[in-house]
Amino acid sequence: TLRLICTTTAVQRKNVGASGPEKYTEAFIKKQIEEFNLGRRHLANMMGEDPETFTQEDIDRAIAYLFPSGLFDKQARPLMKHPTEVFPEQRKIQWGEDGRPFHFLFYTGKQSYYSLMHETYEKLLNVQKHQDQLIAEDLPLQKEKRNLAGSRWLTKIELEEMLLEKVSDDDYSRFIQLLQKLVALPCADIEEKYIQKFSKEVPVQMQKVVIEPLQHDERGVAFSTGEGTRKTARATAVVYDNGTGKITVNGIDILHYFPVLQDREQLLFPFQFLGRIGKHDMVCTVSGGGRSAQAGAIRLASAKALRSFVTEKEVEFMRQAGLLTVDPRVKERKKPGQEGPRRKFTWKKR
């Protein structure tokens, strides 16, 4: 994060007056809840409904009916909700009637964070003591490796929500280091429950791409289909086995459809890469885009179709050669104040 160095005095004056809104006492919140319940019953009577079965949705409807407001912002309209939703969940006043604070680390300022560090350190000492006992009795230390791959530690924001107070970046990194130190010890299994409070499962990553099996048409010839895109061109290709290397595009032979050699080379590249030039027949349909874009689209479609004919290793080779990746390049938009996507207007000195 950036730290402001040259600041005005207005920014530096942070804690003038009470820090934030007034802290609510428990008695205050209780009184608000009683008033809310009374108000709910009055409202039910006013609307002519049963006070016992008056739900929050009924309250919202009643308020919208009695106090119609044309304000745009929904949060600015009249609102009647349970006090626990209205008053944010913040810490109520931390000390009792005689003035003594409840928590023993109150005077540090960040009591929940430091008590968390204290507890974690205590667990660490416990584990070390247990380890020493095992060594003294010459028993083997447990070496079951905890699966770290599927889990992650809590993020800073989640920790702030848990502790209900601000945590700085340094504090957060210190806490994570302490947890990692605890987990690294061999006998950390004892405190597994405690550690699980601070670790979350990472969802399973992208599934492996499923290669479709070969299909057979009426004559018994194996074939497979593939789709490809490039710029604005969309193509579908059907590759047949036991062929002579004939390729048809939109019902027209490639020699007539693609007069330019470069486009035909693009079409033949997947077959040439796998060494199967004369072995397959191909029938494709393509629409949109220009000459080169259509060629690229058909190339991708045919490569995808060929995956079903080929071993997994060769699929990996194709992927590394870039035959199976969709080309993400599209036409860049023109910006206002410029002639094209990058070209600026001619600069005239006067």
């Binding site: 003038v16 003594r100 604070p101 005077y107 430091y114 000492l125």
Partner: protein, 216 residues
């Protein structure tokens, strides 16, 4: 109620603090060991017994007197229901100090001391905070070997202090200094044990006296 408060003040050792420790206990816990001659602070010279092979030895007879005064004072504060704050900036003993404070039912601060904790309390914590009535320093220096900010702040806010001063510390602003070692784990465990026992004793006596008063 008045009688409850004035009764302990008539006896010099109402809480029998002298029985809690002997000079031999202090010697076994290595309280008499100080730092080297080069680290010696000028104001600690009256408390030093002598110097052997460049290492300062603290006078345990003076330590015993100072410790008795300090423990008596803490006992009186705890008897009157005062807030005691244990302060120490040594990382090795942070856990020990916090557990002692929790066991007594008092408070501890062994972390980074934010500037306005005592002097700016009403803004940092909120209006109506009650400040500690006694600060107990288990080590007067902070991590950079300079006197802890809390000593100066407590003096500013008129809060009495009790502190374990080593040969490289400044005992000036502390109301009840205890010359002694603050580096060995054995010495610190002894201090924690003594403070814990005095505070618990004082609180028990308070509860007993209140119960006796109610019965009357």
């Amino acid at each position: 109620d008045d009688k409850l408060l004035t009764e302990p003040l008539r006896h010099p050792d109402f809480f029998s603090v002298k029985e809690l420790f002997t000079l031999k206990d202090l010697f076994d816990a290595r309280v008499h060991l100080g730092h080297k001659k080069g680290c010696r602070h000028r104001f600690m010279e009256p408390y030093i017994f002598g110097c052997r092979l460049d290492q300062d030895i603290i006078d345990l007879e003076q330590t015993v007197q100072h410790l008795q005064l300090a423990l008596n004072f803490t006992a009186h504060i705890a008897y009157r229901g005062g807030i005691i704050l244990f302060v120490s900036r040594r990382r090795q003993f942070c856990h020990l100090v916090e557990s002692t404070a929790r066991a007594c039912g008092e408070y501890a601060h062994t972390r980074y001391w934010q500037g306005g904790l005592l002097t700016n309390a009403h803004i940092q914590f909120g209006p109506g905070v009650r400040l500690p009535d006694l600060l107990v320093f288990l080590s007067t220096l902070n991590n950079v070997f300079e006197p802890h900010v809390a000593i100066r702040d407590a003096a500013k806010m008129n809060i009495p202090t009790v502190g374990v001063v080593d040969t490289n510390c400044n005992p000036c602003l502390i109301t009840y200094p205890i010359p002694g070692n603050d580096d060995s784990p054995a010495a610190l465990e002894l201090y924690c044990k003594l403070f814990r026992m005095t505070i618990i004793r004082a609180k028990d006596k308070r509860r007993q006296s209140e119960a006796i008063e109610e019965l009357r």
